[in-house]
């Protein structure tokens, strides 16, 4: 049995070594993707283009404007003179946020009444819009807190307005500066190894079908599981090495901390790879050509990515969608990978995720082994 598994394994490695571009393909694209993700993928919003219309022209309104000008979150591109100009800036996309300080802004403030500030936001990118609105509120809150204490101080000996303030002390654990990169880089490790191992495995089997060697192997006394083991072990090793490469790169280049136990990550990675290899084999039993395999991989990897919680919180999804995420091995792997990188928790906490990946992996591999024989009919 081992003899035959090793024969296939050796052949597989020889073929990879013969392929002049294999090493390049295995190393360069993942690193490039890592760099792109690391630098470009961020939820934080800076320099939101802003147009301001001041219809009050008071000292207070100018002070509010200066708060926006000073903030790195906003980039005031224009002080508009009319409502129409605000509209035009938003329509053309030159500004994302339009602020209108209504007349009698200062007067209301002085009376201690709510002062009107209108915010128009370009909602086409709902995410940026939402975050920008949050920042507007933050600046407005700071402004009114200052004004409030000014107002209290200016009332001579009168009734001291008791301005109750609730101060929130933020203390984000595991990522004190809420650095988006710390969130993304470990996620990229998981996503890259998913796409890579599924496509490698699927195309390796389908290529044999295309050149006819699969048929040649099927008439030999080899058992399906021997073939499947010989075929998947090399890709398991490659997938593992790939994960290691990308993870080490993330730690050294992006300075993402790794506080957990590397063995727990290795265990999680192994279990995750069982699922991706199983998936790759399953695809290979359903398609005839490498092109079809490529299409199927795309069809499967994209939803897996979306449902994994990589960038869209699972808790915000509708309930039926949330059930579907339980079938997504990437969901569990992201938990394991983020927990080991940033939290440093071990198997005692992560066992449900590890178990889920083991079950999914075993299921997918069994299914593909069963389908394998029938695939020729």
């Amino acid at each position: 049995m081992f003899e035959r598994i090793i024969r296939i394994l050796v052949k597989e490695l020889l073929e990879i070594r013969r392929d002049k571009w294999a090493m390049f393909r295995l190393i360069v694209p993942p690193l490039v993707q890592m760099l792109i993700f690391g630098y470009a993928a961020t939820f934080e919003v800076y320099h939101v283009t802003t147009v301001i219309l001041d219809r009050d022209h008071s000292q207070e309104s100018r002070e509010l404007i200066s708060h926006f000008v000073a903030s790195t979150r906003f980039n005031v591109v224009k002080i508009a003179a009319t409502e129409r100009e605000v509209r035009k800036e938003i329509d053309t996309g030159d500004a994302t946020v339009g602020l209108t300080i209504q007349p009698r802004f200062a007067a209301f403030l002085l009376k201690g009444q709510p002062a009107p500030l209108q915010v128009v936001v370009d909602g086409t990118n709902s995410n940026t819009a939402l975050i920008a609105l949050g920042y507007v509120e933050q600046i407005a809150a700071t402004f009114s807190a200052n004004e409030g204490s000014d107002f209290a101080a200016r009332i001579p000996g009168g009734i001291r307005a008791r301005v109750e303030t609730l101060s929130v002390e933020q203390r984000p654990w595991f990522n004190p500066n809420l650095d988006g990169r710390w969130f993304f880089v470990p996620g990229v490790v998981g996503t890259l190894s998913l796409i890579l191992t599924v496509s490698l495995t699927a195309s390796a089997v389908v290529r044999e079908r295309e050149i006819g060697t699969l048929e040649q192997i099927m008439v030999s006394p080899i058992r399906p599981y021997e073939f499947i083991l010989g075929k998947t072990i090399p890709f398991f090793l490659i997938g593992f090495g790939e994960t290691l490469l990308v993870a080490v790169f993330g730690v050294l280049w992006f300075r993402v901390p790794f506080v957990g136990n590397p063995f727990v990550l290795a265990l999680g990675t192994s279990l995750f790879l069982l699922s991706t290899l199983g998936l790759g084999l399953l695809i290979s039993t359903m398609v005839r050509t490498q092109q079809q395999a490529f299409g199927a991989n795309f069809f499967v990897s994209n939803p897996m990515f979306t449902l994994s919680g990589f960038s869209f919180p699972i808790a915000s999804m509708p309930e039926p969608m949330q059930w579907v995420t339980y079938l997504d091995p990437l969901r569990y792997y992201l938990v394991v990978i983020r927990a080991t990188f940033l939290k440093g928790v071990g198997v005692s906490v992560l066992w449900p995720d590890l178990l889920a990946m083991a079950l999914l992996g075993a299921g997918l591999l069994t299914l593909s082994t069963l389908r394998f024989r029938k695939a020729l009919d």
Partner: protein, 335 residues
Amino acid sequence: MSAVLPEKTDKAGERTEPVLVAEGLVKRFGNFTAVDHVSFRVDKGTIIGFLGPNGAGKSTIIRMLCGLLTPTEGRAFVSGTDVAKDPETVRQHIGYMSQKFSLYGDLTVMENLRFFGGIYRVPRKVLPERIRFAVTMAGLDGRENALVSTLAGGWKQRLALGCAILHRPPVLFLDEPTSGVDPESRRRFWDLIHALSGEGVTIVVSTHYMDEAEYCDLLALINRGQLLALESPTALKKRNLGGTLLSIECADIGKALHLLEGQPGLLDLAAFGNAVHALIDPARTTPEQLFALLSGAHVPVDHIVPIEPSIDDIFVRMVGEARESQEGEPGRRAG
């Protein structure tokens, strides 16, 4: 080598078990019947050739015999083992080679041989000697480390054969092994097949080259999934076509076919290269009458002679007869 018929006995006078048995094999793909109740028996050391046009069902039969396809109906036995019930045992006794010459192009000659030797469970002790033999047989001495993708068709074909027989299978299936290979290589390949048959290997080979039919001990004519005949080439050629076969060499084949069609006493008609083969009922028409007919219509005839039917002629006639009995319309054919 003469035809080996199922009733024959071996040298010791004992009744031999047929090495290969098909019992009512049927394969349907959806509504399409690719193989329609095919039965036969083949004895040890026989070369059986499956002959028929593309899509006749030759490959499907071979693939069912080696367990690559599950028959819809019927059973197949290799060396007494039911293929469907015990495919693992069967696979140790068969070699298979398809028209694709399935080898790894990015591996060398040696690496391919070692790989197939490994998965066919060739004992480690004898593997080097078997590999040596295969290399010599393929004519690849000195090119052991060449990448297979750099080899020409004939070498690839012989190397594929070498890989398929590394485990010395008693039964060898060759699915159109000579397609796309030059005539010289085809001849060399058939020499190898005869040598193997001489050593007692039973060989099943499919082809659509009619000239290769002569090299077989037994011919199975397949058309539309049905077995039309199973005989030795000699027996097949002695078949009575039910008339006299004439070869008419003339300048304008198309016009000649048109003129001859529907003439009284003309049983069958087909174009063969630069001649028309016409099967006539001698009681109703004569070569002289046909000559007169053609000449009268300004089609100059070079030769008009009775000929011995070739396997091609027999095959075409049998396909025509099968169609007539199915569709009940008179035979008309154009080769």
